[in-house]
């Protein structure tokens, strides 16, 4: 997984609350068996006008936000379905960081699996940045995972919280599965203990367990 340490990037604004993963990437793009190439589906329905043409007002279609690497949005971003295609599509578009006043749990978690940083800031901090982005062409933010800060062009610095374990994994770009497998002995010990307590949980459910 790609490490995330510090980045300075162009910010794109999505000034809406409760953006669900069906909007981030609609179902017709979930038929892929790959993680890449999902940019085409990103905010697919919102990018278009009723007649099917591209909506020039939607932020992703505006020349000034091309090349943005930070998405700024509002409350409860990523609610709904667990589809990891949502962070994959954002990543494929070039976003490495999403800043919001709150996130839905599953989306928040999925970001970390893909080297993306979801940052929770206070609603008034997001509002100030939203005003800044809309008023200032080329508005950039610096996101520093090490110091857990977001710095605006005027030098205003906002602090964000993150679990130390998650921070460390993202900062070092660690392979989550590899990390868990280092605890193989603990997993095996748990299984032995649990099997004695609750043997019905360890029945092999396959019709022909020996064959695989």
């Amino acid at each position: 997984m790609q490490a995330f340490t510090i980045m300075t990037g162009l910010v794109a604004p999505l000034d809406r609350v409760n953006v669900d993963t069906d909007q981030i990437i609609p179902k017709q793009f979930l038929k892929t068996i790959k993680r890449t190439g999902l940019r085409e589906g990103l905010f697919y329905d919102w990018r278009k006008q009723k007649d099917g043409s591209q909506d020039p007002a939607f932020f992703l279609n505006q020349p000034r936000f091309q090349g943005a690497t930070i998405l700024l949005t509002r409350d409860n971003f990523g609610c709904g379905s667990s589809r990891e295609h949502a962070p994959w599509a954002l990543l494929d578009q070039g976003f490495r960081c999403v800043i919001a006043s709150s996130f839905a749990d599953i989306f928040y978690n999925n970001c970390f699996q893909n080297g993306m940083l979801p940052v929770v800031l206070k609603a008034d901090e997001v509002l100030a940045m939203m005003k800044g982005v809309l008023a200032t062409p080329g508005y950039q933010l610096t996101v520093d995972l090490g110091s857990q800060t977001v710095t605006a062009p005027d030098g205003t610095r906002s602090h964000f919280e993150i679990d130390p374990f998650r921070k460390d994994c993202l900062y070092r770009g660690l392979d989550a599965i590899g990390l868990t497998l280092q605890h193989e002995a603990a997993i095996a010990a748990y299984e032995t203990r649990r099997k004695a307590e609750a043997p019905w949980l360890f029945t092999d459910l396959r019709p022909n367990p020996g064959r695989a």
Binding site: R16, V17, N18, D20, D22, Q23, P26, K27, Q28, L30, K31, T32, I33, K34, R35, D45, D75, N76, C79, G80, S81, S82, R83, E84, P87, S102, F103, A104, D105, I106, N109, N110, Q113, D163, P164, F165, R166, A176, I177, L179, T180, L181, H183, A186, I187, Y190, R194, E197, A198, P199, W200, L201, T203, D204, L205, R206, P207, P209, R211, A212
Partner: protein, 467 residues
């Protein structure tokens, strides 16, 4: 030992180890797999040369993409066909049990888990699907995960988790006749909002919850995620045990007796505390209909479409205006004036035999209104078979409903069952997001009873007074 909630008991019995900051390696007893969120997980295993730790703890089924029409014709969409073929190949390569598209046991992943006895009290259950919360109805800790975590669980049988907070939602009293679990959960989400449960696991308690059947509890827990909570649960009781007994994958004989003894401990201790409690009276819950573009935008059938001008919060007002524009609704119009052209009875929320029995008996001797297309999609092949043995299919068909094969169908419209732009659907599913049932489609979430009444009348009616 300190008093514990049901959630705390299940959590603690699954801790493999914990980091200093509380991050926990949590053991996963069982995983369900479907075709949409698993291909990249299996690809990851292949690329890293890893094997599933316990293939015998995993069950796979295609459901999102499957056609609900004649399956002997195959799948017209080549992408859908490829995704299902990929699941079949992966299950074969990794030795995982698959209920294929033409297996009678095939169905919506959250219907078949309980149906097969795969879902058990006190277990941790995950699936790459947010409606995994359904299985909490059995007193399990069940939640949706992303594809990277699907791979993680296949490889390690564990997940890295931070312990969530615990919310009690207590509903006491008696529901009025024909008000159902669906109305209860919609009313709860209407009260707490779509993010009200974020960061929490919900335990549903109270006399109205105890009175629900297992099917009703599944409907309730299913939509926990629509209130932001990854998991919802109901403590197991004698109904739970009776439901599980004798199912194909449930423990048998002495193991079953031993399990039942352990399950009796699975309840919140009387002096345990929750991080938050929300209470409701069952008598106050009217049949619910959603009017907006998230499940929190919902009201009673005896109410009116909200008026944004009366909303003081700027964010809320804008969101309401935007939702009403998308939904094509006029502020202050009575909910009963909303006309529909499509009815969908199905999904992991409401496609179990009990749902179909109730719906079929309400449809008996009636006719779907002119200009309305109504379809019934059973939750599994076995639900369909049972319904046909009881003659429910005949009641539906005589009333003008289409009777389909099992699958997710129009809940998310990944197969051919799609709303056209502007079409308005009374749906027993769980999400009314923009475009959820088809780009430009308009979804109103309701119970099966309300869906049948809307199909017959062509608009929403109050089921309590419908004749």
């Amino acid at each position: 030992m300190a008093a514990q909630t049901l959630f705390e008991k299940i959590w603690e019995s699954h801790v493999v180890r914990a980091e200093p900051d509380g991050t926990t390696l949590l053991y996963v007893d069982r995983q369900l797999v479907h075709e949409v969120t698993s291909p990249q997980a299996f690809e990851g295993l292949k690329l890293s040369g890893r094997r599933p730790r316990r293939p015998g703890a995993t069950l796979a089924v295609p459901d999102h993409n499957v056609p609900t029409t004649d399956r002997t014709l195959g799948i017209a969409d080549p992408l859908s066909a490829k995704q299902i073929r990929t699941l079949e190949e992966n299950c074969r390569d990794f030795g995982i049990t698959l209920f294929g598209m033409n297996d009678i046991r095939q169905g919506v992943v959250h219907i078949i888990g309980p149906e097969q006895g795969f879902t058990l009290p006190g277990t941790t259950i995950v699936c790459g699907d947010s409606h995994t919360s359904t299985h909490g109805a059995f007193g399990a800790l069940a939640f949706g995960i992303g594809t990277s975590e699907v791979e993680h669980v296949l490889a390690t049988q564990c997940l890295v988790q931070k312990r969530p907070k615990n919310m009690e939602v207590r509903v006491d009293g008696m529901l009025s006749e024909l008000c159902s679990a669906k109305d209860v959960i919609l009313a709860i989400i209407g009260k707490i909002g779509t993010a009200g449960g974020t960061g929490y696991v919900i335990e549903y308690t109270g006399s109205a919850i105890r009175a629900l059947s297992m099917e009703g509890r599944m409907t309730l827990c299913n939509m926990s995620i629509e209130g932001g909570a990854r998991a919802g649960m109901v403590a197991p009781d004698e109904k739970t045990v009776a439901y599980i007994k004798g199912r194909p994958l449930a423990p048998k004989e002495e193991l079953f007796e031993q399990a039942v003894q352990a399950w009796q401990q699975l309840k919140t201790d009387s002096n345990a505390t929750y991080d938050m409690t929300v209470t409701m009276r069952a008598e106050d819950i009217a049949p619910q209909v959603s009017w907006g573009t998230n499940p929190g935008m919902v009201t009673g059938i005896d109410q009116r479409v909200p008026d944004p001008r009366t909303i003081t919060d700027e964010n809320q007002r804008q969101a309401t205006e935007r939702a009403l524009e998308y939904m094509g609704l006029i502020p202050n119009m009575p909910m009963t004036d909303i006309k529909i052209d499509t009815v969908f009875i199905g999904s992991c929320t409401n496609s179990r035999i009990e749902d179909l029995r109730l719906a079929a008996n309400l449809a008996k001797g009636k006719s779907v209104a002119t200009g309305v297309r109504a379809m019934v999609v059973p939750g599994s092949g076995l639900v369909k078979q049972q319904a046909e043995q009881e003659g429910l299919d005949r009641l539906f068909k005589e009333a003008g409903f289409e009777w389909r094969e099992a699958g997710c169908s129009m809940c998310l419209a990944m197969n051919a069952d799609v709303l056209q732009p502007g079409e308005r659907c009374a749906s027993t599913s769980n999400r009314n997001f923009e475009g959820r049932q088809g780009a430009g489609g308009r979804t109103h979430l309701v119970s099966p009873a309300m869906a049948v009444a809307a199909a017959v009348e062509g608009h929403f009616v109050d089921i309590r007074t419908w004749t």
